[in-house]
Every structure is written in structure tokens, then in C-alpha cells.
Symmetry: C2
Subunit: 302 residues, 2 copies
């Protein structure tokens, strides 16, 4: 059972998910779970019975039964009719992550992202589909085998509402402006005809990266074939650069996008290198110890 | 040198603080600093030369040269004329924290909080004084010896601006309502004539606690004598309960308050028991694994 709760007076929400840790002792030193060996890994081939049945699988010409496998989260943050919570295991290899993927592996992952987004986006009462990845325990991954999560929500996040209010006032797309302003700047890490990847002027964490299509499209299913190919390469190369420069850091990445409403897709990669502590909680202001211009230089150098 | 940077189009800010970690290798495994022994602790008596000179000290009748000592942060997030960043070491004892304080030690800490808030609140161009504590490394403390931080800012945090907008629409104080609504509820941990402490219905982390005065006062310097005595006891007891129930967890606490503007002081204690990961970054929605009603029960039971 899950329950969505609203803040006393702001448009903010939390989700009470009772299938998970519940008693005080559950919070006291529990490091064992994510370190189990591959043979006990519930996301490895051969251990499919350790997870709920698959909702979709995607295959390369690899001869394996799956290369990407999707299933409902065993401990969902939301369950029907409130929403859906799916796990997307992007590789059968226990120790691989997208930074290591070949071109075709990366394209298969993007295919799966598009397909699963599309599947949930048009279900009844779904207003937002959150697609995100937590890499490593310090970034919130409870299982070491690489995976992405999708949570389909019956509400629009307040972050997007806040953006929408400002965009209405501006009466133009700020992301279209950003792609033009940052083009060729000292913060650019990669740029081609269709995409720009850069360390944003305003960052919440050191080495934060934004990836934005130059064309104004609502979500990842709107990419055309050349955008899709280019995105797969850029995104993999960015993750690879972060892995090299920061010695495989924990990170989160997530997609800001809408289902049908007018918006400009943008993807954010946030290495977990600092702790949002009392000051950030108190003020919403982030203290940044690396200028984005320097971060971009390090990442471009790979 | 520090620089305040604004988000591309939202009213959100980050602070670029260049005196701190800067190169990629600085982020790769640096666990030594917070674990140095007491004799090398820059916050211990006898090591005062390891920090900038004191800006204030507070004494009990202990015969020590100080019981609370304040000085500018060696690596400030903000420095004049943009702002100020001060460290408040609340105890001379290397291994103590407010959860362990006696009544008089706690009252001295609250005295110091009031005094330092007041000192910075009325400096030129200061619009907000952020007062917060990070307890333990996992909650962002880089030095183990207990301390609080104060950052005086030339801007109002967007969190407070957002609250202000809603409060204007409501045309009443939502915190006054909350103290009445939660009074006697299953979420109350402690309540007397002057204060209420409870696990909020909407929480961002398991075992989050809000502490609110029943009287509508802007900030901690407005407490009367009985409010001040009561707050010292309640606050210490709450920290002690968290220490017992959760085996001395990392936590952050912070004060939401204004300098002169009409507001209702509220203090928030957030144990660091979960990681704000991809979903929280993407949506601003927090997944909560302990119902606040249960958390309050555990904390009341101590």
C-alpha cells in the first residue's frame, strides 16, 4: 500500500511507501544487501524468479534471452491505481554500466526508455512519468547491478509546475534560449547539430551536466532517428568521461519531459560528490566547489 | 572569493565557493580529515590558533576560557561584502553533542544562537540568516567536533519566497493553524503551553521532526524567558530521543525564520536516513518509508 501526502500548505508531496524499511533498527548499518555476489544478484540472468515477472524484454542479436529486462519494482513507491513503479535492467552483465556500453547496447537502452515511457505515459490517470537512474549505493542504488527506474505518477511534480509558471510569464521557451546562449561557451562539453551537453552556469553539484536537444521536443519519444543516434553516443560518452575523470563516481541522471504538454526535453546528470546538508535544506541554495567552466574543461579533456 | 549565481530562469541560486575542493582528485576518497584524533582537532581548547580568531565566546561558571566559541569559517561559502559565514562550536568537549548537554549547557547554546543571529541580522545588506547544524560526516559535517554554522545572505531563499506567496494568498499564518491542528494528534512527540514538536504529516525523511512555538514570533530572538527555557529542554530531549532510537544517527537541523518580516519561526530536524536520489531530483517528491505517526510513537517512547 502506498499513499500520496501533500504538504500542509505548499504544492509539495511525499509518498508513503510501506513495503520498505519501517522500524528504527532497519536504518542502523545495513551495508550487506548491495554487496552480494553476482550469483545471488536478482537482476542477473538465471535469477529471474527473484523478481516479479517481466513486463518487457529487449534483445540484440546476442542469442541471450534478454539484453534489457523490465519488471515491476518488488517494493513499489506507487502501485495501481495510484501509479506504477518499474525497474529497467539495461544490461545482462553484472558489472557493466551505460558508461561501458557499445553503440548498439546504448541504442537498445534508449529504445527501451522510449518504449517504456510511451507505455506508461498513456495509461489512465498518469500525468507524469519519472525516468531516472541511481548509480552506486551513495547515489541511492540498493542493488549493484545497473538499472534504471520509471515511476508513473497521477500528479505533476511541483518542480515542473514552477517551471511552467515562469515559462508562461516569459512567453518563450527558456531551454531554446539556453541551447543558443551556451552554444560555443566555455561550459560546453559536447555539441553537434542536434544536441548540446554542458556544465550549467547554475549547478547544484560539482560536475553537473545538462543534455538538451536543439529542437524543441516534449519528450524522448519525439526524437527523430538522427537525434536518437546522436543522443546515444553523446550520453554514453558523457558517462564515460565522468567515469574516467572522477574514478567511477556515484551519480544520478534523470529526464525532465512531459507527456503531451508543450515542453523542451532536458536530461540532467548529477554526480554525487557533495552532501546537501543543513544549508541546502534551509535555503534551497547549493554551495558549489567547482566552477562549471572548470568541470567542462576536465570532461572535454577525456 | 565567492560568487552567487542565479538559475537560468527560476529564482534559484547557487554559491560558487572557490576556497574549497576544486580538482577531480579532491572528490576521490578523502575520509581522513574528519577522523583525526582530538589532539589535532581544530575546534578543541588549546588549538584555537588552528582557526581564525574568535568573533565571540560564551562562558558558564566552568572556569574554562570558553564553553561556546565562534569564529569565521576558514573556507567561507560567502565572505564580505556578499555575506558572512561563521562557525559556532557549542561545546569544548570533543565528543559531546547537544543531545548530551545539561540544561545550562543547552541554554548557553541557545543564548549563543540568539546573539549571533542578532549580530548578523542587522548588518548592512543582509536579508536572511541561515542557522543550521550538520551532525556527522554523512550529514555533511567535515569536522567531527560538534558545531553549528551561520551563513548571512544578501538574498531571501526561494523556499521562503515560495512560502510567502502562498501565505499571502491564504491571508492567515499556516504555522499557527498547524500548531492547532497537530495539537494532541498521533504525530505529537512533545507539547506544552509554549511549544509543539511533532513528526509532520508531510515529511521529507523518516523521523523528520518540526518544532514550532505556539506563539507567532518571527525568529529565535523573540522568544520570552519561558519559551526559551522550554525550547532548550524540548530540543535537547528530541535530539536525545533520536540518538537513543536510531543509535546516534547523522542529522541536520535548521531554523526557518525572518529578520523583521512577519513570519512564524519553525525549526526542523532531519535525520539523514535516506538518500535523495534520481526520483527526488526529478520530481521534488520524497519517498518516505516510515509513517510519521510511527516515528512519533518511537520517539515518544524514550
Amino acid at each position: 500500500m502506498t499513499e500520496i501526502r501533500k504538504h500542509y500548505f505548499l504544492n509539495e508531496y511525499c509518498i508513503l511507501a510501506s513495503g520498505r524499511a519501517k522500524r528504527p533498527q532497519d536504518f542502523i548499518k545495513d551495508d550487506a544487501r548491495s554487496r552480494r555476489p553476482a550469483k545471488d544478484c536478482p537482476f542477473c540472468p538465471g535469477n529471474e524468479t527473484m523478481t516479479p515477472p517481466e513486463t518487457a524484454v529487449y534483445q540484440l542479436n546476442s542469442g541471450q534471452s534478454w539484453d534489457v529486462r523490465c519488471f515491476e519494482n518488488l517494493y513499489p513507491a506507487l502501485s495501481p491505481p495510484d501509479g506504477h513503479h518499474e525497474v529497467i535492467v539495461e544490461t545482462a552483465k553484472h558489472d557493466a554500466s551505460p558508461a561501458d556500453f557499445t553503440d548498439v547496447e546504448m541504442e537498445l537502452m534508449v529504445d527501451a526508455y522510449q518504449d517504456r515511457f510511451n507505455f506508461y505515459a498513456h495509461k489512465a490517470s498518469i500525468l507524469y512519468v519519472s525516468l531516472f537512474k541511481n548509480h552506486k549505493r551513495e547515489a541511492g542504488a540498493s542493488i549493484a547491478h545497473s538499472h534504471t527506474q520509471l515511476i508513473a505518477l497521477p500528479l505533476r511534480p511541483s518542480e515542473l509546475e514552477r517551471e511552467r509558471d515562469v515559462i508562461k510569464q516569459l512567453d518563450r521557451c527558456p531551454y531554446c534560449s539556453i541551447t543558443k546562449e551556451e552554444s560555443g561557451s566555455s561550459r560546453v562539453i559536447f555539441e553537434d547539430q542536434t544536441w548540446i551537453a554542458f556544465a550549467p552556469f547554475y549547478s547544484k553539484t560539482p560536475f553537473e551536466v545538462w543534455v538538451i536537444p536543439k529542437r524543441h521536443i516534449n519528450n524522448i519519444t519525439c526524437m527523430d532517428s538522427s537525434e536518437r543516434t546522436s543522443f546515444s553516443r553523446i550520453f554514453r560518452d558523457l558517462l564515460r568521461s565522468l567515469k574516467v575523470v572522477l574514478d567511477d563516481p556515484p551519480y544520478n541522471y534523470h529526464f525532465l519531459q512531459t507527456i503531451d504538454e508543450d515542453y523542451h526535453l532536458n536530461i540532467r546528470i548529477l554526480p554525487k560528490l557533495s552532501i546537501a546538508a543543513g544549508f541546502e535544506l534551509n535555503t534551497g541554495i547549493y554551495i558549489l566547489t567547482v566552477p562549471p567552466e572548470d568541470a567542462a574543461g576536465f570532461l572535454r579533456g577525456v
